[in-house]
Amino acid sequence: MQRVGVFVCWCGSNIAGTVDVQAVSDALKNEPGVVFSTNYQYMCSQAGQDMIKDAVKEHNLTGIVVCSCSPRMHEATFRKTAAAAGLNPYMVEIANIREQCSWVHKDIQTGTEKAIILGKAAVAKVNLNTPLTPGESPVTKRALVIGGGIAGIQTALDIADAGFPVDIVEKKPTIGGKMAQLDKTFPTLDCAACILTPKMVDVAQNENIRIFSYSEVSEIKGFVGNFDVTIKKNARYVKEDICTGCGACVEKCPMKKVPNEFNLGMDNRSAIYIPFAQAVPKVATIDPSACNMLKNGKCGLCSKVCAAGAIDYTQKDEYIQEKYGAIVVATGFNPISMDKFDEFAYNQSKDVITSLEFERLTNAAGPTAGHLERPSDGKSPKTIVFVQCVGSRCDACAEKGKEYCSKICCMYTAKHAMLVRDKYPDTDVYVFYIDVRTPGKNFDEFYRRAVEEYGVKYVKGMVGKVTPEGDKLKVQASDLIENKQLHIDADLVVLAAAIEPDKSARPLATMLTASMDTNDFFTEAHPKLRPVESPTAGVFLSGACQGPKDIPETVSQAGAAASKVIGLLAKDKLTGNPCVAHSNELMCNGCSSCERVCPYGAITYEDKEFRMPDRTTKIRRVAVVNPAVCQGCGACTVACPSGAMDLNGFASNQIMAEVDAICK
């Protein structure tokens, strides 16, 4: 029989306000096995923990029940407390009387009754607990970064600096991501390329970093410290190690009418291409959907002009297997599609553009060499209307917009407006805003400068519709401060489109078994205290894949993710989760049902000799669980008809004891 101590937490008034904690600790005193029961204001405080430690010694406790907040909050805390008191940490059970009781019930009597029942269930469970010891597994000292934007670049550089090898997988032909497409960066207005490209070069030159560009992750197996990853290197039809990036092939390629995705389709590129001058790796790539040689075998010019002999039309997709200890997700974002926003005439007029398109239009390396020209006729726009919150903060229609604030639009719109007024002072610039959100260092000052120094006209209100008429765009909008409707004849309308996670994130999350929110942003292990870790061990989050972020935030999160990875890779061994499945070989039929449902392949079979009651021996096939691979889901325990398979920490008899206690 266990000697159980019960500790009821008030959580200040969080629990004590709706639950009579004294009544709970009194009631639980009479439960089987309970030898000590008390309550205290903050069980998780040092004083509370000391109280538990003292009670363990004084009453020779073998099990602890803490009636407090969710075990997701403080189970680990109290396990440590138990360990410090010399108890096996897995002899602790938590009754969740805060989130699932005091916070959801208003009546003190109801709350108290339920808290007592939850406490009883925990006591019933702890009575059947057994001490558990976690297993150990080795750590592969190599990290994988998925995504080669600024988030992935910074994470990789920081991990590499600590001396660990890192691989970056980037689906585009070059690393750089969205930041490479930007013109200037707020609030300092340094040019994006000037601060990004040196980092890209650092990546290329760092001995600890390998870049798999034009590649995707196709399979992920394993677990923290021991991931087995298959990387699909798409055929680029150019030998990466030989190509010098001289660009002769690009120049000679006769197929020059391919929409250039780097410039968002505002100009064309050739079928063989290097996305931009500072690309890393600076290697040409053949677009198989546009190349005549690949489509019908007629051409081969690039091969002829390539002095290095790097062109290889027979190249095949290549699959690379590699082991990693940690995986960082840095899959980034994209602006949402403007197709559903008919009111802004995005699909009707070339002169209605998104902000990212505007970045390319003002970028010196962009399709207009930095001259602000209307995409339709190349004229200089004299009146520009910026519309904010296009698709952000929109919960009317899930197909159209996003419920969340995209966070970066206020600042980049201020930047755009300011730059236009700076370069072309004769241009009228209107910004229609709902709220201007500038909570960042020097952000509000920057926005005020746009208004006060550069004379950008900020209008509180929204654009209702944009109608192309002749070479003008008729903008109808409301000015809520002056309480009037505005009609502006604009030359250019720039939409601050909401941003959404990259489409590759969802299948990746499935491969990683990492959780996502309803918007497909990766969920962090804790929104405040573990913001760069995924709940899935060994998976870390960097940049906008976790939520909208600007560059400084992304870089700091990237560094934080890197430090978490370094902390993991610095360990030689990981202690595993002891709550794993185990099979009782005496009852196992060897039927393979458990093996079939195990998502991790943790179950194997062996022939084992058994001694029978009549002293003969018999060889039977029995299941064996690899505790380092098992993650403790328990699928096998239900597939097993004989009940030979059970789960540590969530044993059948423990769960049934809880059911019994609740139903008593």
């Binding site: 709940p535 239900v638 059948s652 139903c663 008593k664």
Partner: protein, 144 residues
């Protein structure tokens, strides 16, 4: 409103990663649901053995609900897919034996769906309350 309204006993099995967290979120947001719901934490909905469900009914539970991650979002990749098959078969069988189908339910509640958790529990309790006491599967010896 009935005068002698029966207070049902609901056992909710919640997977640790999604639904239990969803229940916590309901708590964080102070979304009320009846105290009749008692949650048992399991690592994954696929840990729920049909024997647990029957055991709960045996001991006098009036309804049993199993909550897991949305299909495709299982922390263990595929656990809830097995849950889906197992419980579809089991609940269909209980219905075949004449147990009211409203007493059993499987619901997918993510860690972000505190509101859905509370709404689900409110709805389930309401439906089970309407059915009255579970007389068909209880074990009289277990009644006090």
């Amino acid at each position: 409103m009935q005068i002698n309204e029966h207070k049902p006993l609901i056992v909710a099995f919640c997977c640790n990663w999604c639904s239990y967290a969803g229940a916590d979120l309901a708590g964080n947001n102070r979304l009320n649901y009846p105290a009749d719901v008692k949650i048992i934490r399991v690592p994954c909905s696929c840990r729920v053995n049909p024997m647990f469900v029957l055991r709960a009914f045996q001991r006098g539970a009036d309804g049993v609900i199993i909550c897991g991650c949305h299909p495709g979002d299982c922390h263990y990749t595929s656990g809830n897919y097995y849950t889906r098959r197992r419980m579809a078969a089991l609940f269909s069988m209980l219905d075949f034996l004449g147990i009211e189908k409203e007493r059993t339910r499987v619901e997918w509640v993510s860690a972000a769906e505190g509101a859905k958790f509370a709404a689900t529990m409110n709805d389930f309790v309401e439906k089970v309350t309407a059915l009255g006491e579970n007389k068909r599967l209880e074990d009289l010896r277990c009644k006090k």
